[in-house]
C-alpha cells in the first residue's frame, strides 16, 4: 500500500513538473468548452436549457477517448525507454503496485482536469437553475469513462517503448469503445435487422452507461461494468509486465 502511494506521488509530481501536463490540460479545457458553447446547432447558451447532459457531458466520452490515452501514454513506455523499469523491478515492489500507482496517478490528473471544467457548471447555474444531481453523477461518469480509457492505455503502454505508438493504438481502441454504443451505429444494426448485434456491441460500449450517469442515474451494474473493465486492463498490464521479462 505504501509502495502504491510512493509510485503514485512520483507519477503525479513528474506529470506536473513537465510542461506537457499544462499543455494537455489547456487543450482539454479549450476543447470541452468549445464543444459546449460553440458546436453549431447545439450551442448551450442559444438552446436556453440549463441541462448539461445534451451539451457539456454529451461530448465527454469522445474527448476522453483522446485525453485518457494522452495522460497514460508515458506511464509504462517511458519506464521501458529509460530503463527505469529495471530499477523498479529489482526493488522490493510488486508489479501490481507499480501498475496501480501509475493508474491512480493518471486518474488524479484527469480528476484535476475535470474539476477545472466546473466553470461550465457555474455558467449554467448563473444563467438558469440546473439540477445538481445529474451534474455530479455526470462528473462521476466522466471519471469512470476516463478511468477506463486510462486503464486501456496503460495496458497498451506496457507493450511498447514508444509513446507515439502507445497513444496511436490507444486512441482508436477507446474510440471503438465509444462508437459501438453510439446511436447512429446502434440504429444502423437495428434497422439492418440484426438487433442482437446492436445489443451486444452497445453492452460493451461506454456510451450507454455514461448516458445514464449524465441523466442522473447511478446504476450499480454500470459502476460494476467500469470497475471490472478497469480491473481487467490493469490485471492484463501486470501480466504483460511480468511476462515481458521472461
Amino acid at each position: 500500500m505504501k509502495n502504491i502511494w510512493s509510485i503514485f506521488r512520483r507519477e503525479v509530481s513528474s506529470f506536473f513538473t513537465s510542461p506537457l501536463a499544462y499543455v494537455l490540460i489547456f487543450i482539454f479545457l479549450v476543447v470541452t468548452n468549445a464543444l459546449t458553447f460553440l458546436w453549431p446547432g447545439r450551442e448551450l447558451i442559444e438552446n436556453e436549457q440549463a441541462v448539461l447532459k445534451d451539451f457539456f457531458f454529451y461530448y465527454h466520452p469522445w474527448v476522453l477517448a483522446f485525453y485518457g490515452p494522452m495522460l497514460a501514454m508515458r506511464s509504462l513506455s517511458d519506464e521501458h525507454r529509460q530503463g527505469t523499469i529495471e530499477l523498479l523491478s529489482t526493488m522490493p515492489v510488486r508489479t501490481i503496485e507499480v501498475v496501480l500507482g501509475k493508474f491512480f496517478g493518471a486518474l488524479t490528473v484527469l480528476a484535476v482536469s475535470l474539476a477545472l471544467t466546473i466553470v461550465v457548471v457555474f455558467t449554467v447555474s448563473y444563467l438558469g437553475d440546473p439540477d445538481g444531481g445529474p451534474i455530479w453523477s455526470g462528473y462521476l461518469g466522466s471519471l469512470l469513462v476516463g478511468g477506463t480509457f486510462i486503464a486501456v492505455s496503460i495496458a497498451i503502454s506496457a507493450l511498447t517503448r514508444s509513446q507515439v505508438i502507445s497513444v496511436a493504438v490507444s486512441i482508436p481502441l477507446c474510440l471503438v469503445l465509444c462508437i459501438i454504443g453510439f446511436d447512429p451505429v446502434v440504429n444502423f444494426f437495428n434497422d439492418s435487422g440484426v438487433p442482437i448485434v446492436a445489443e451486444i456491441l452497445s453492452s460493451l460500449s461506454v456510451i450507454p452507461p455514461f448516458t445514464d450517469f449524465a441523466k442522473g442515474l447511478i446504476d450499480l451494474r454500470y459502476v460494476f461494468y467500469f470497475v471490472s473493465v478497469i480491473a481487467l486492463c490493469l490485471f492484463a498490464t501486470n501480466l504483460v509486465l511480468q511476462s515481458k521479462r521472461a
Binding site: 510512493s6 513538473t17 529509460q82 530499477l87 522490493p92
Partner: protein, 240 residues
C-alpha cells in the same frame, strides 16, 4: 551470501547464460569479466530478480529469489548497466523516491539520503534536474540509489563505465572499502580493475564460466598476464 546454482537463461533458442554456478561470501569482491555479449549483464539481471531464470536457482543471504523475491530484493543494491534514472526528477527527489520504495520514512529517510549523497559526492548537484547531469554524475546518482538501504549484497554492472580516470579511481576505492563488510559482484571488461578492486575474479564467455580464481592465480594461468588469459579463453566478437 550469494549462491548461484546451475543458472541458465535462454532467450528463444540462444542460451545467454549456460549452467553457471558460483557463490560469493561476505567480505569478497568478485570481478565478473567477459567480452561484450558474454552474458555478464544477463547473469546480474537474473541474480537481482529482474529476469526470471530459465533454470537453476539464486539465493541471496539464504533467501530464494524465486520463492521470496521481495525479501531477497531487500538485501540487494543494484546498479544496472546503463544507470537508468528518472530524467524529470532532481537528484534529491529521485533519492527520496527510492528511499520511500525501500521503506524509509522520517528521520531515517533523511539520514539515509544524506549519507549516500556524501558517499557518492553528489553534494553539488542535489537540486539539479537529472537530465542535465553529466555521465559521471548520472552513474554516481544511480550508485547512490543502490547504497541507500546499506544492503548486504551489492551487484554493480560496469560501475566505472564512462567515468573519467579520477572518478574511476574513486569508485574503485569505494568498492574496496565497501567490500570489507559486504558481498560485492561487479562486472567490467577493464582488466586492470580486477587488480585494483577484486579479491576474486571470474571470466565468462558465451554464457559459460571459463576461469575462476584470485587475480594472482588467474595471472599465473595466463603466463603472468590477465590480458593473455582473457584472450586465450574468450571468443573474439568477430568470431562469434
Amino acid at each position: 551470501m550469494i549462491e548461484v546454482n546451475h543458472l541458465t537463461k535462454q532467450f528463444g533458442h540462444k542460451a545467454a547464460v549456460d549452467d553457471i554456478s558460483f557463490s560469493v561470501e561476505k567480505g569478497e569482491v568478485l570481478g565478473f569479466l567477459g567480452p561484450n555479449g558474454a552474458g555478464k549483464s544477463t547473469t546480474m539481471r537474473v541474480i537481482t530478480g529482474f529476469l526470471p531464470p530459465s533454470g537453476g536457482t539464486v539465493h541471496i543471504c539464504g533467501i530464494s529469489m524465486k520463492d521470496k523475491p521481495e525479501d531477497a530484493k531487500r538485501k540487494i543494491g543494484y546498479l544496472p548497466e546503463s544507470a537508468p534514472l528518472y530524467n524529470d526528477m532532481t537528484v534529491l527527489g529521485f533519492l527520496r523516491f527510492c528511499a520511500d520504495i525501500r521503506g524509509f520514512s522520517g528521520l531515517a529517510k533523511r539520514q539515509a539520503v544524506d549519507r549516500v549523497i556524501v558517499t557518492c559526492f553528489l553534494d553539488s548537484v542535489i537540486h539539479q534536474s537529472i537530465d542535465t547531469l553529466s555521465k559521471g554524475y548520472r552513474h554516481r546518482t544511480c550508485l547512490a540509489q543502490a547504497l541507500l538501504h546499506d544492503p548486504e549484497v551489492l551487484i554493480l554492472d560496469e560501475p566505472t563505465d564512462g567515468l573519467d580516470p579520477n572518478q574511476k579511481h574513486e569508485v574503485r576505492k569505494l568498492i574496496r572499502e565497501l567490500g570489507k563488510e559486504k558481498t560485492i559482484v561487479f562486472s567490467t571488461h577493464i582488466l586492470e580493475e580486477v587488480d585494483a578492486a577484486c579479491t576474486r575474479a571470474m571470466i565468462i564467455d558465451q554464457g559459460k564460466l571459463v576461469a575462476e580464481g584470485t587475480p594472482e592465480a588467474l595471472r599465473n594461468e595466463g603466463d603472468g598476464s590477465l590480458t593473455e588469459l582473457f584472450r586465450k579463453l574468450t571468443t573474439p566478437d568477430v568470431a562469434a
